[in-house]
């Protein structure tokens, strides 16, 4: 009887193993969230001044977009590999790439958001005596907020996917469990970690959508 294949069959999810290894997934999830949060906050801090500058000084616009378009096409694994000889298998290597990619998404949305502010509104603000900086902070940026938050949503979901790739440079959060499951040919960690990664992305997207409703209630459909 050729029963060998059945004897060695590895179920997609081994619930017994899973229930005794919950801390493993908690740690991975925590690392995943930390890596993502640093990337998004770093990208946001850098993209706001860049986006504002590119909006204010038209000459910056095309170079900023062209450079980001080119940088964005570089595959993440290739970017990490290009950095490893200089920054090693470290968090720095991972975050340079992750911050870089989120920065590119955010800069574009900051610019689009600022450009969509109606000229009449700017005129009115000028007429009311707003100085450029006050006008930017109190009129233009709040009106650009829907586009900026839309950018944060895209950047967050994208980064959560990219973090799994950093498993290949020794980090990875949930990606680490995917890699280990793959190497040991054990289905449970890799299936559960993939599902958790998708779930994390969807939960993050939905909560940011909720935040969007609270912060910019006038923009329902972005």
């Amino acid at each position: 009887m050729p029963t060998g294949i059945f004897l060695t069959f590895d179920p997609w999810i081994n619930w017994g193993w899973l229930s005794s290894h919950v801390p493993l997934f908690e740690d991975a999830l925590q690392q995943h969230i930390t890596l993502t949060a640093i990337a998004i906050l770093g990208g946001l801090v850098l993209s706001l001044p860049l986006g504002v500058a590119a909006h204010r000084w038209r000459a910056f616009r095309s170079p900023v977009l062209a450079v980001s378009e080119i940088f964005y096409t570089i595959p993440s694994l290739a970017l990490f590999a290009l950095l490893i000889p200089y920054t090693g298998l470290t968090v720095v290597t991972a975050e340079i790439g992750l911050i870089g990619y989120s920065l590119l998404i955010l800069v574009r949305n900051v610019m689009v958001g600022l450009e969509a502010v109606p000229p009449d509104v700017i005129d009115a603000a000028n007429g009311m005596g707003y100085r450029p900086l006050a006008r930017l902070l109190r009129i233009e940026l709040p009106l650009a907020l829907p586009a900026i938050i839309a950018g944060i949503r895209i950047a967050t979901v994208t980064t959560i996917g990219l973090v799994t790739v950093t498993a290949l440079i020794g980090l990875g959060g949930l990606g680490q469990l995917i890699l280990e499951g793959f190497i040991e040919n054990f289905h449970t960690p890799l299936v559960v970690a993939t599902v958790l990664s998708i779930a994390l992305a969807l939960v993050a997207d939905l909560s940011l959508a909720g935040l969007q409703r609270v912060v910019v209630p006038w923009a329902r459909n972005t």
């Binding site: 095309s62 977009l65 378009e69 080119i70 964005y72 096409t73 570089i74 595959p75 993440s76 694994l77 290739a78 970017l79 990490f80 590999a81 290009l82 490893i84 000889p85 990619y101 998404i105 574009r108 895209i154 979901v157 994208t158 959560i160 996917g161 990219l162 799994t164 790739v165 498993a167 290949l168 440079i169 949930l174 990606g175 995917i178 890699l179 499951g181 793959f182 289905h187 890799l190 299936v191 970690a193 993939t194 990664s197 998708i198 992305a201 969807l202 997207d205």
Partner: protein, 235 residues
């Protein structure tokens, strides 16, 4: 000479330009895997996106597919496909195709949806039948966005094909994965350069193709920045 010197010597070594692990062979593998996946993905995604966009139906579905597509971790999908279908190109092409579909579907949906209703009315008034109207009026106007979707998918697939080396696939990813495994920084860096160049070449050549395909009449209307309906980045 330092590190970059050793990379230069790697590239000038004739041994790396021939044989099964040579650059030409790895290039062919990488392009072949990517082209197959994008082509199959296009055959599935474009007709669906075009039809849904033409009728303006199921807009939420088209948008949600792009959201879910973005959330799929390419790395996990590849590894799971490998577990299901086993070793070989089928697992790779299967997962790359799955990743290629969302950008093309969403972009072609938005492209057809955004065609000026007045233009559609005019076409109808001139006596165009539905199919002719789609093929001769709406599609030419939608080319920029449809092609933006193809371009996005192609770059993404070329990027993810690098990861395929992990599940014993060929392509330039081989140098990166082997370089990491053998702690050979030179090979790792050279492979990364090749992958980055290939991704940029894909982007530029498809942008060129797009320029050729866009009808002359609407070329003047185009904004200087090439539009995309949605941003994608995987792997």
């Amino acid at each position: 000479m330092g590190f970059l010197g050793s990379v230069w010597r790697w590239f000038s070594d004739p041994a790396h330009w021939s044989g099964a692990d040579g650059i030409p062979q790895r290039l062919v593998e990488h392009v072949q895997l990517s082209a197959e996946s994008v082509a199959i993905g296009a055959l599935i995604a474009l007709p669906i996106g075009i039809v849904l966009g033409h009728y303006g139906r199921f807009g939420n579905l088209a948008i949600n597919i792009s959201n879910v597509g973005r959330a799929l971790p390419s790395f996990g999908i590849l590894v799971i496909a490998f577990q299901v279908f086993g070793l070989g190109d089928f697992s790779i092409v299967f997962s790359l195709t799955a990743l290629a579909i969302p950008p093309m579907l969403t972009n072609s949906y938005v492209a057809l949806r955004e065609v000026d209703p007045d233009v559609k009315d005019a076409a109808r008034g001139m006596g165009y039948r539905e199919l002719t109207q789609v093929l001769r009026v709406e599609l030419p106007l939608a080319v920029p966005l449809v092609m933006a979707g193809v371009r996005t998918s192609a770059v993404q697939v070329v990027a993810t094909a690098t990861l395929a080396a992990l599940i014993s696939g060929g392509g330039f990813g081989r140098y990166i994965i082997d370089g990491l495994a053998q702690q050979d920084l030179t090979k790792l860096f050279a492979g990364a350069l090749l992958v980055a160049l290939l991704a940029m070449a894909t982007e530029l050549s498809l942008a060129g193709l797009e320029r050729v395909l866009v009808p002359r009449g609407i070329r003047l209307l185009r904004a200087p920045v090439m539009a995309r309906a949605t941003t994608f980045k995987a792997a």
